[in-house]
């Protein structure tokens, strides 16, 4: 066994362990040197990224991988902490690590003038570790633990600007909502354990029978994870917390939110994959029912998201409402693919939804970075207070234009590629879905054109004569995201073939996920 094999074998554990270990190293290194700490944090992410790359090449080529803590094999009883990595997990951890890298590059200049940065970096790395853990784990209880860690850490990060009362308020709302949600997840896990004596997803998926208690579990898991992903009408914590968190970490919090979305996918496609299409309710297969419920919530999310975003005056809150709408697009796509399980357009919809997940993270992330740059340059949050910044902030303007076009789904940027797939698949289930999706994406365009006008165009106000362009590290971070957005927009097929298609196949093909564990006994 070569060193490389060994590294790949232990990669799933290392991917979580390295940022976790690094997190607690941060206060120590902070005492030595600030710059060293920033470099160390970045290199920890790079190292994690390297392991993710190793693991990705292996998993994409050879199928799912199992990592069992404290044992070579899985023996009965099946209660072991285990990580299971399939192409879907690979897709998610790749997104998370990209977002984390960009956020850290951005933080370098953005957070420079604040104190308490040792804690900041500790929290950021912990959040990254917990998000990666949620996406890698093959065990429901483990998922709960990582979810709770990410919820505690996100809350602390949202409250980071502790001198503002609003940040505290947002953090309190976030922790109330998400800790109640997490407790319900724990309750659901207890129900599952009581029936099947197992905690890992694959075993549960195999023995699940869709009993009365399983229905309760399904509803609890989907609703809680849907809330954590930001489905209307359970979205209200999202604008509060996104709007008040430091813009440099909003990107990572988006990653954590998307991990909850991943949880929904795991629950529906893998955990309940065996039973959904067989069970009946109202003379309909349950997968159609689940799909239509998600579609209904998604449509409400899209509409409420854009309509509320149109009247927001606080820039970051406005972007957060747009993020709600974007989450709606993802749920629309996966709802369609669940409702139409097995038909050819279900696959297209699923791929479109997953690609949109990536694009949403990048586009909304880019807009938050731009909003952060504006905040950094002007110290103003309200759109009414700023004007004519295109004169002094040329690069930021260009990045904002890219973000605007991407988030509104204009060709040839990445948002168009995924929305294109979504429009051209969901209309087959019902034409109205596509119509609403198209209309709301145009409203999204109107919203961000308004932001563009308010922040960048318009006359030069006297207060902004000597506003400076954002510092270099922030420009670099924005440039990286913008570059990715353009790349995915121009070569969508490359991303779809290498990452999205395997992920979609892994979701649909849950038998493989199960047999990896069952065969590993």
């Amino acid at each position: 066994m070569t060193v490389l094999d060994l590294l790949i074998e232990h990669a799933p554990a290392l991917i979580v362990a390295i940022p976790l270990f690094g997190a607690f190293l941060m206060p120590l290194v902070s005492r030595v040197n600030e710059k060293l700490r920033n470099i160390l944090a970045l290199s920890i992410i790079c190292l994690t990224g390297f392991f993710i790359w190793l693991l990705a090449t292996d998993v994409l080529a050879r199928g799912p991988r199992l990592y069992i803590f404290g044992a070579k094999n899985l023996a009965s009883p099946m209660v072991r902490i285990l990580f299971e990595v399939d192409s879907m997990s690979i897709f998610m951890i790749t997104i998370t690590v990209i977002l984390a890298f960009i956020a850290l590059v951005y933080s370098w200049s953005f957070m420079k003038e604040h104190d308490g940065l040792d804690k900041y970096y500790t929290l950021v790395l912990l959040l990254i570790a917990s998000t990666l853990g949620m996406e890698l784990t093959g065990d429901v209880f483990n998922f709960f633990v990582f979810l709770e860690i990410s919820c505690i850490v996100s809350c602390a990060l949202i409250a980071f600007f502790i001198s503002e009362g609003e940040a505290l308020e947002a953090a309190f709302k976030y922790i109330v909502v998400s800790s109640i949600g997490a407790l319900f997840i724990l309750f659901a896990i207890g129900l599952l354990y009581a029936q099947y004596d197992a905690l890992n997803i694959a075993t549960l998926a195999q023995v699940l029978k869709y009993t009365f208690l399983d229905k309760i579990v399904l509803v609890l898991l989907v609703v809680v994870l849907g809330m954590k992903a930001g489905l209307v009408p359970m979205h209200m914590w999202l604008p509060d917390s996104y709007g008040r968190a430091p813009p440099s970490v909003t990107l990572i919090i988006i990653g954590a939110t998307l991990a909850s979305f991943y949880g929904v996918l795991r629950v529906i496609f893998t955990l309940y994959g065996n039973v959904l299409s067989n069970a009946m309710r109202f003379a309909l297969p349950v997968n159609v029912l689940v799909g239509w419920i998600l579609i209904a919530l998604a449509i409400i999310s899209i509409i409420v998201g854009v309509i509320m975003a149109l009247v927001q005056t606080d820039l970051m809150r406005l972007i957060a409402f747009a993020a709600v709408a974007e989450v709606g697009y993802m749920f629309l796509a996966i709802g369609t693919s669940i409702a139409a399980l097995g038909s050819p357009y279900a696959t297209t919809a699923l791929q479109g939804g997953l690609l949109h997940l990536l694009n949403d993270a990048l586009d909304i992330g880019l807009l938050f970075l731009v909003a952060g740059a504006l905040y950094y340059a002007t110290k103003k949050r309200l759109l009414d207070d700023i004007s004519g910044l295109a004169r002094n902030m040329k690069y930021t303007t260009v990045f904002f234009i890219i973000g605007l076009l991407a988030v509104a789904g204009m060709p040839p940027l990445n948002g168009f590629a995924s929305k294109f797939l979504i429009y051209e698949s969901v209309y087959q289930l019902n034409p109205i879905l596509s119509i609403v999706a198209i209309l709301c994406s145009i409203l999204m365009l109107a919203i961000f054109v308004k932001v563009f006008y308010a922040a960048f165009l318009g006359p030069e106000l006297p207060g902004f004569k000597d506003v400076k362009e954002a510092p270099r590290s922030m420009l670099l971070a924005m440039g990286l995201v913008a570059g990715l957005a353009i790349f995915i927009g121009l070569f969508p097929n490359i991303v779809i073939d290498t990452l999205v298609k395997p992920a979609a196949d892994a979701l649909v093909n849950h038998a493989q996920y199960i047999s990896t564990v069952i065969g590993g006994i």
Partner: protein, 111 residues
């Protein structure tokens, strides 16, 4: 290979970029024939206000919250309802969660 196929249609970004690039070269050339001078720092670069005296930029600036006024007023009912829904009260956030939970329990036949 570079064409994104959805099963219902196609989209080839590279082709579009090429077309735009060629058209840009051509039209930029054509545009070059036009006159590109004007008298800087004279009356003619002031904003056109039907001959009224130009107020300071602060007063002339149309604020972001006034934009799309016609659209938001025509959706006034919707906005009133949505504003009522977004109370900002944490208990209401949890209440919505409980409501959705209850509705789905009903739909799935638990209750």
């Amino acid at each position: 290979m570079f064409t994104l196929e959805s099963g219902s249609g196609f989209w080839n970004p590279l082709l579009w970029i090429l077309i735009v690039f060629i058209a840009f070269l051509l039209l930029y050339g054509i545009r070059g024939f036009g006159r590109n001078t004007y008298k800087k720092d004279t009356e003619q670069t002031k904003a056109f206000l039907s001959g009224n005296k130009e107020p300071s930029p602060d007063e002339m600036h149309v604020k972001a919250s006034n934009l799309y006024w016609g659209f938001t007023t025509s959706l006034n009912n919707v906005y009133t309802a949505l504003r009522k829904m977004h109370t900002g009260n944490t208990s209401d956030y949890v209440l919505w969660f409980v409501i959705i939970l209850a509705v789905l329990f009903l739909v799935f036949g638990v209750m």
